[in-house]
Amino acid sequence: MSLDQLYQQIILEHSKARHGSGLAGAEVPDGASSGKSHQLNPVCGDEITVRVAVADGKVRELRWDGDGCSISMASASVLTDLAEGMATEEFRSVIGSFREVLRSRGKVAADPEILGDAAAFEGVARYAARVKCAMLSWVAAEDALGQAVSH
């Protein structure tokens, strides 16, 4: 497996674009309930805080603050694009699919129909040391979503 299969162009682009990045001063949208989760990768010290705002059974907005490698930053950016506007139940199931692919050591192929741009992270599954980088924001989002829905 080559480096370019891990660092697909879409990942490199998202690692710079960082959609959804910036929590400071960003208010929760009116009428939405929200949850917030902080996750840390103790191996490298990378961390991320994700806030999920929910209204009418859908993800209204996802915002995050974080510092980390290109895989973790791109993953949070792609996650933001994917989540916003999605029904909360579907979002939960998409997170489950992403986790299944990432933890499969390359045995489970990513379905672009379900995962969209996040399918580009399929190659990460072959790099055991990097799976946590890709999962960090998704784990935070799952936790934040749980809080937002229970409010």
Binding site: L3, L12, V43, C44, G45, D46, G68, S70, I71
Partner: protein, 435 residues
């Protein structure tokens, strides 16, 4: 025992690439390819590789002499005990200690925990009167430095928390050196323990042991030296350094994992309460109480790491015969080549002393716009093994304004070609990640 290869017999000549290429023949693991490229192993600061003589010593022990030590009267028990205690003698001599002053541990982390737990035991009600000199309470201070590996920080944090003592630290300046003026203010009459690293695993800085000891001695503080990054790379003499305790890990000095050492002055070790208790460390046992053996058995409860100790002695022998002064001089060259090369690459910030200044043969650095994990992944694609992350030194990275860095660390089996292959790859990193 395995005969020492002829080329390792001590020679006054400096180590050079030609000899290093011969040394590499003793390390089978280094001749493999990774991702289609010859392996360039620059992660010896994390763990080093084993020469054949070390692997053979361990195998020979299991094939010929394996048995429990210090018990049983049969032939193998005697042979194993002899091998075990011979190993202690060799490794003690390697660091300038007497054999009864060297306690086998799993690694430096365990050695530091042994000290902190022993001092905690000394601080509890009912401790033996001889242990009073190790007891800590409110008002006492433990001093460490801002550049410590977590292994030489967290045991002291825990000890302070449990005894009411205060943990203080000597800050690091922007160039990666300890602030000795601050040290002179911090180390004082309340200081009971001063624990610091001999050489930084991130900065490469070699700390001024004599200057720190000069500050500590008048206070009566116990001095603990973390020799993890020095014992493998430069001549170490714990008596000449005049420290009270020192720790090191075998796996960073050509030995297997699972073995390391704690040096302590004999009079201190024999007054300290035990840490782990059980078999092999006692005199008389009744259902109510037990008496304890003197050091080193006092701190070696249970069946020991016998084959690993034998292998560590073989590793120390390999290093001694190559010559620690020659290894140190060679790694100094490699370290300078690393730093000078890295400093000439745009967007690279080298941590620690600048080119031309003393450092051990490693360099940690930050690449502008590229995270250390990505740097390491890119280098791996070229067959180059480095360490990425905080290197178990989060406070130091925070001090330097970073969460992570990339570290290349050399050893006696690295050539200047290894360093150049690494530098060429680093020069391509920012382009690849469009930074």
């Amino acid at each position: 025992m395995v005969a020492t290869p002829a080329h390792l017999l001590r020679s006054a000549a400096a180590l050079g690439n030609e000899e290093v290429l011969r040394i590499r023949n003793d390390f089978p693991i280094l001749s493999q390819s990774v991702n289609g490229k010859p392996l360039v192993y620059l992660d010896s600061g994390a763990t080093s590789q084993n020469p054949l003589s070390v692997l053979e010593a361990e195998q020979e022990f299991y094939e010929q002499r394996n048995s429990a030590v210090h018990r049983g009267a049969h032939h193998l028990a005697v042979e194993a005990t002899e091998a075990f205690e011979d190993a202690r003698e060799s490794v003690a001599a390697f660091i300038g200690a007497d054999p009864d002053e060297l306690i086998w541990t799993s690694n430096a982390t365990e050695g530091l925990n042994l000290l902190s737990y022993s001092f905690l035991n000394a601080s509890l009600p009912g401790a033996a009167p001889a242990a009073a000199r190790f007891a800590l309470s409110t008002g006492d201070e433990i001093v460490v430095t801002e550049m410590e590996h977590h292994a030489n920080l967290i045991p002291w944090q825990q000890l302070a928390e449990r005894t009411g003592a205060t943990l203080r630290y000597i800050p690091v300046d922007d160039a990666g050196a300890l602030d000795l003026e601050a040290a002179a203010r911090i180390i004082g009459s309340r200081t009971r323990i001063l624990a610091f690293t001999h050489a930084s695993n991130v900065l490469g800085t070699i700390n001024p042991v004599a200057a720190l000891i000069a500050l500590a001695r008048p206070t009566g503080a116990l001095v603990v030296l973390d020799a993890c990054q020095s014992a493998p790379h430069l001549p170490l003499d714990v008596k000449a350094l005049d420290v009270d305790f020192a720790v090191f890990s075998g796996h960073k000095m050509l030995a297997p994992t699972g073995i390391g050492g704690l040096y302590g002055r004999s009079e201190l070790l024999n007054a300290m309460p035990p840490f782990l208790t059980g078999g092999s460390m006692i005199t008389t046992v009744t259902m109510e109480r037990a008496g304890f053996l003197p050091s080193p058995q006092r701190f070696e409860a249970g069946t020991q790491k016998i084959s690993q100790a034998v292998a560590l002695a073989a590793a120390a022998n390999y290093l001694s015969e190559t010559g620690l002064d020659r290894i140190h001089a060679w790694e100094f060259k490699l370290g300078q080549r690393l730093v000078a090369g890295l400093e000439s690459i745009p967007g690279i910030r080298v941590l620690g002393p600048a080119a031309g200044q003393e450092r051990i043969g490693l360099a940690a650095f930050d690449v502008a716009g590229v995270h250390a994990h990505d740097v390491g992944q890119f280098l791996d694609s070229r067959g180059i093994a480095v360490r990425v992350g905080h290197h178990c030194a989060q406070p130091l990275h925070r001090r330097l304004g970073l969460t992570a860095s990339t570290r290349a660390s050399t050893y006696l089996y690295n050539t200047t070609d290894d360093v150049d292959a690494f530098l060429n790859a680093v020069a391509d990193v920012r382009g690849y990640f469009q930074a």
